[in-house]
């Protein structure tokens, strides 16, 4: 008979976090609310000063107990179960796909932020994360490994220099310098990284003004939506008074075109 491996002793719970209200059903509390509350309690319990320490150090972290041991299994209830299983199943298949993602690449790209977080947790904890249909032990819907985000971002994201036009909404940040830009034609605000503090200060002087930001972008392949943008510099080109603009352009050299009798033909010749 095989020797039983020594079981790690279950630690005694230190504290309980309670959501208290008459008739409160735990399955109706969104996961995000639970994780936000647990993270905040962990901050309070560890005495973390968010301005000094970006993350709670591992030796002060708080974990859950009374969860099935061996691998940590957290059972969840979805209010739209069919949709939840179908979405997770699709992402799981795409993650395992070896031959590109076709039109589904955009769906995978939309999930990239979550995959980034899950990969980071898998790396931090040293495990793989599985999401499976409740009670079905084999063939999980989604499997996330520590290196999955890196692997996917290499295939889905393209990087290069570009300019982005938008209105400066906010500048600053505690953990990193950020600038929120409202970009025409884009539904959500674009949160950009800012190269350095002096640039952030300059951007701060142009709140609610339109700027042309110069920097490095990461685009989602095919949809060409900007996934990440770092501002390296910016300017605010404007025609302004058109008469003086034209005069200044002429003075700067545009008047050389006065000598060209057939400018359309000249341009055509340049192109061919």
């Amino acid at each position: 008979m095989a020797k039983k491996t020594a079981k790690t002793k279950r630690p005694e719970p230190t504290l309980e976090v309670r959501f208290v209200a008459p008739g409160l059903a735990p399955e109706k509390i969104p996961l995000r609310a639970v994780s936000d509350v647990l993270a905040a309690v962990q901050d309070l319990a560890s005495g973390r000063d968010p301005f000094e320490t970006p993350h709670v150090p591992p030796e002060k972290s708080i974990g859950l107990v009374d969860v099935r041991r061996g691998s940590a299994i957290y059972r969840c209830v979805a209010r739209a179960p069919e949709e939840a299983l179908s979405n997770l199943g699709r992402i799981g298949s795409l993650l395992m796909s070896e031959n590109g993602y076709g039109d589904d690449g955009d769906k995978l790209a939309a999930a990239l932020g979550s995959i980034h977080d899950l990969s980071a947790v898998a790396k931090q904890v040293g495990c793989r994360l599985e999401v499976a249909i409740a009670g079905v032990r084999k063939e999980p819907l989604v499997v996330i490994q520590a290196e999955d985000y890196q692997r996917l971002s290499k295939r889905l994201l393209l990087a290069g220099e570009t300019t982005v036009t938008g209105e400066v909404e906010r500048v600053g940040g505690v953990t990193g310098l950020r600038c929120a830009l409202r970009v025409p034609g884009r539904h959500r605000i674009l949160y950009c990284d800012v190269k350095d503090r002096s640039l952030a200060r300059r951007l701060g002087e142009h709140l609610y003004e339109d700027i042309v930001a110069l920097g490095e972008a990461k685009w989602i392949y095919r949809s060409w939506r900007i996934y990440k943008f770092t501002i390296n510099d910016f300017n605010q080109p404007r025609i302004g008074d058109s008469a003086s603009a034209i005069e200044n352009l002429r003075r700067a050299g545009l008047s050389a075109w006065d000598q060209i009798r057939n400018p359309e033909g000249y341009i055509r010749e340049f192109r061919s």
Binding site: L158, G160, E161, T162, T163, T165, V183, P184, G185, D210, V212, W219, W224, N235, P237, R238, I239, G240, D241, S242, A243, A245, I246, N248, L249, R250, A252, G253, L254, S255, A256, W257, D258, Q259, I260, R261, P263, E264, Y266, I267, R268, F270, R271, S272
Partner: protein
């Protein structure tokens, strides 16, 4: 609003040609229309693709090119041909072949330049592209609104003011 323009708009607005007769009057009309357009767009973000900047620089003496680039950059978004523009250009190239024969360019190099200029404007978020060339407008219309220079202004006095150099 973000709009794109081609190089000819600035050539019409910013040069005083030495032509005579009918050609001179036609050219004067184009100059007035280009100036009207720039007046209308004075508060907008105007994309002048770097490919169009290169065209503008061709007859400019070498010593003055830097000055003109600086002046253009302070007034227009001189956007380079970046990665999203490459994908848009490839798409436009394929779609432009399906345009009616009278709207297709005879010269592949002219078509290539137009496609690249429009793609840069589109990648920069332009929703309108201005050009006096109807073939160029036909290509631009595949991905955004395409317009010629205005022929008149709602402000009746504006054309006269522009001609006198007062606006």
């Amino acid at each position: 609003m973000i709009v794109g323009i081609d190089s000819m708009i600035l050539i019409y607005a910013g040069s005083v040609p030495k032509s005579i007769g009918t050609a001179a009057s036609e050219r004067a009309q184009l100059t007035l229309r280009a100036k009207l357009l720039l007046h209308q767009l004075s508060d907008d973000t105007i994309i002048l693709p770097s490919i169009a900047v290169a065209e503008l620089l061709v007859p400019i003496p070498d010593a003055q090119r830097g000055l003109l680039i600086a002046e253009l950059s302070s007034r227009f978004v001189c956007k380079p041909f970046d990665l999203p523009a490459t994908a848009i250009a490839a798409d436009l190239w394929a779609r432009s072949k399906k345009l009616p024969a009278e709207l297709r360019h005879d010269n592949r190099n002219v078509l290539k330049s137009d496609v690249m200029i429009i793609a840069v404007a589109k990648a920069a978020g332009a929703t309108v592209f201005y050009s006096h060339d109807r073939r160029c407008r036909a290509i631009a219309a595949l991905v955004m609104e395409a317009k010629d220079m205005p022929t008149h202004s709602e402000d009746l006095f504006l054309p006269g003011d522009i001609e006198r150099g007062e606006a």
